[in-house]
Symmetry: C2
Amino acid sequence: MTSVQQPVQPSVTTGPISGSSKIYTEYDGLKVPSRRVNLTNGEHFDLYDTSGPYTDENAEIDVQKGLPPLRADWVAGRPRLTQLAHARAGTITEEMRYIAAREGFDPEFVRAEVARGRAVIPVNHNHPESEPMIIGKKFLVKVNANIGNSAVTSSIAEEVEKLVWATRWGADTVMDLSTGKNIHETREWILRNSPVPIGTVPLYQALEKVNGDPAQLSWEVYRDTVIEQCEQGVDYMTVHAGVLLRYVPLTAQRITGIVSRGGSIMAAWCLAHHQESFLYTHFAELCEILREYDVTFSLGDGLRPGCIADANDAAQFAELRTLGELTKIAWEHDVQVMIEGPGHVPMHKIAENVRLEEELCGEAPFYTLGPLATDVAPAYDHITSAIGAAQIGWLGTAMLCYVTPKEHLGLPDRDDVKTGVITYKIAAHAADLAKGHPNAQAWDDALSRARFEFRWEDQFNLSLDPDTARSYHDETLPVEAAKTAHFCSMCGPKFCSMRITADIRKYAEERGLTSTEAIEAGFQEMSETFVANKSQVYLPVVQ
Amino acid sequence: MTSVQQPVQPSVTTGPISGSSKIYTEYDGLKVPSRRVNLTNGEHFDLYDTSGPYTDENAEIDVQKGLPPLRADWVAGRPRLTQLAHARAGTITEEMRYIAAREGFDPEFVRAEVARGRAVIPVNHNHPESEPMIIGKKFLVKVNANIGNSAVTSSIAEEVEKLVWATRWGADTVMDLSTGKNIHETREWILRNSPVPIGTVPLYQALEKVNGDPAQLSWEVYRDTVIEQCEQGVDYMTVHAGVLLRYVPLTAQRITGIVSRGGSIMAAWCLAHHQESFLYTHFAELCEILREYDVTFSLGDGLRPGCIADANDAAQFAELRTLGELTKIAWEHDVQVMIEGPGHVPMHKIAENVRLEEELCGEAPFYTLGPLATDVAPAYDHITSAIGAAQIGWLGTAMLCYVTPKEHLGLPDRDDVKTGVITYKIAAHAADLAKGHPNAQAWDDALSRARFEFRWEDQFNLSLDPDTARSYHDETLPVEAAKTAHFCSMCGPKFCSMRITADIRKYAEERGLTSTEAIEAGFQEMSETFVANKSQVYLPVVQ
């Protein structure tokens, strides 16, 4: 493992995603990035891009130096208020304009959503390298990826590459959950090289400072840790302030008890001291600190269910009610707030989670871990949780914390991180479609047109993972010609279901007919046309 | 590729799934199989088992001979009626009793559901090797796996192994979609060695008989093909009789037109002949044939949407209405019926599909392909479709046709088949949980208890895929001791969130306290106990 003595030389993945190029669009003074897919038909399609300068072939990347401080001048040029304070004062910040351009909304709409607390913009004044993004139910559903070394394994260099790798595939924020050695140094490397907001759980580092004994934790140790992380530039922090002494026994009859690490640490502290936690009793002071840096609260669900049987129980909802009270206190201090949610929840109990969160927490953005819709598939929990994540996203959850195939079993490697991110981008986009986000379906339509017109390269390049799509196609039909062939690999070259439609559509379009008119126009002609063009139904075998 | 001249010597996967053993339970004269997981705490948990004799270590497998004809005597000992006719006559067949035992329902309930057409039992008199199973909304959600060689690739031996492999991991039925050479011979090998019902699309073989020219198809060629397949023992057949001439132009404005192979073949025929298809005009004769063998109709959705934009459109629902009319005709002939559904549907449009199918088709079992909840992730369509499949299963769909990672790109290999089946078992079980199937949650609870009690081997063995779960765990913590260690690999050995609950639970259980009483009892004692046992929070590092 890299230690403080040995200088780190992380090598990170750079260069555009295959078939795409990085472009920047000018919106009065702001340069907003997109992933542009250049299509073989001369058109192009632009996608929301989280990858930062790493996918810009003209960018000079030096991880020793870190990324350029995009936001430094903005922050320097105005009073050091939180985005919430600015929004309440009627100010539209550069971050809000950047986000408006990025998501295709009016800047005033962005300000209004932040002002009412229904959206957050996690931007610590001391993390100027980040590209502004927003988390709120009215916007694109976002995805968080967890990284971080642990006592068990992994080095700083690996974590920096995981950060770059996760944002390359679409992670909107990254949480550094490091628990091993060099927590401070690892976080420094991650922050200076991150184009997305970074979240942490300060309790983990505080616990290290007291040698892993929850009973020895104190407000002073915790406070100093929070200030240390605020100074470094952490954008949002998970705080398990809703775990109250009287809630702990409510977990006694559960099948899996307390599964949140932070929640169990605080429960242990409460039991050892027989009093409410310092996170709860000092919450107002905590607000003062976070406000100074514009760090966003992510109020942790320390009592979230760890299995299907424990979902939506008294312990979980008691804590949620307390998180609602804390949300109002944070808002009184102009501090932005998100609310964390489960976990493990069967499909028929998912809606209740969103309804209660919105009712109790004033629609503060909901940020859930999955939820997993069943417990029976360890090694496939990216899928069991994507099923729940897509639904809870549709119902209004603003950000989805990814789950990798290693959940419950081990620590994710680089491949697991990619699988987790892609799986969650699927869940988030499926939710955007179901919510009717104005820009969501254009992407599906562009890819489906490419599919129908047998523009194979465009189909690959428009997908979430062009490399894997191309390699799967080539396994069956490696021939280059197959990529321009007018048939789908599923049916084989002899006959393809999609071809027939070309004839029907051609017929209708040539005559500008609606479907009904086409019927009136008489099928006799149409069928003659078809028989005449019958040869079109046959396709060349490329083998 | 294996030809008729060379004898086939397929080798198939045999032996129990790791950590499980095959057991047979006697229910007045019937031996019903289960997958028994023997737990390290002395208990055991039995799971529904689709794998047939292949996972029975005592079974003698000879693919040349085929499986023993389990149902031969039952069929010989009674009038050759369909299960629907028997059910309507008030007869409870051996198949119904077998299914009742398998799913934990009363035999009379099974009969009643079949009698009203809300469930089907696909059992061709000539496929006595199959173990009876039922498809209906009141029962466990079932999963179908598609196999079959094509003009592009794969041999008979590969397909027989794919059959055994798919049922090993939980496929409830298998469709043989072979389109290349040796269709008849491939199907014969599959049928004689299949413990699950086999479905086909007779149109594919009929098309081969007319050299791939849809216009040359005729009722006579099709009828003879259907009879040939009925004689072999095919249990259910996809028939695209709902594709009417006047519906074809309704697809003209679609982005992806007609994506069903059978649908496009029939559309081509309708256009070429300018008349309604022989499937529609000869439907009553077709019913007469299927009734003779008790072959179940799977009325195909030839005009299903092939992309998000085309979901729930006029063409799709026009065909569904016609399938409803055909359902009633089939029922008049005592023929069992399922209805096929899409396809590509965004989450907010899924419910309408189930509602309309139940209304128009009298609750005949719905059998859907996914649906995919987005088009943007080729290479991950097992996941995009599992999101839709879990929801549509919850809403009442009786069987889910799997989608593999190769969908839209190529033909699935053995690994893709396993991934597709496991992914769909997840979607089906998530749906069973949400529907509140009486036996569903016990499985999640058993695995979650194993997880909470750190019974790692039990956690692996209770999962859908023990091999992968174990290998992922060993990547991070290969040490054998780690499998008995009291910590979760995610957190590392130093501190584990689940341990704290043991203390709380122990405290409550010892005193038989409810949570509230525990509070009354006073936390002072509890916290003292906790401090005294503090060492329990620390765990030995096994590294």
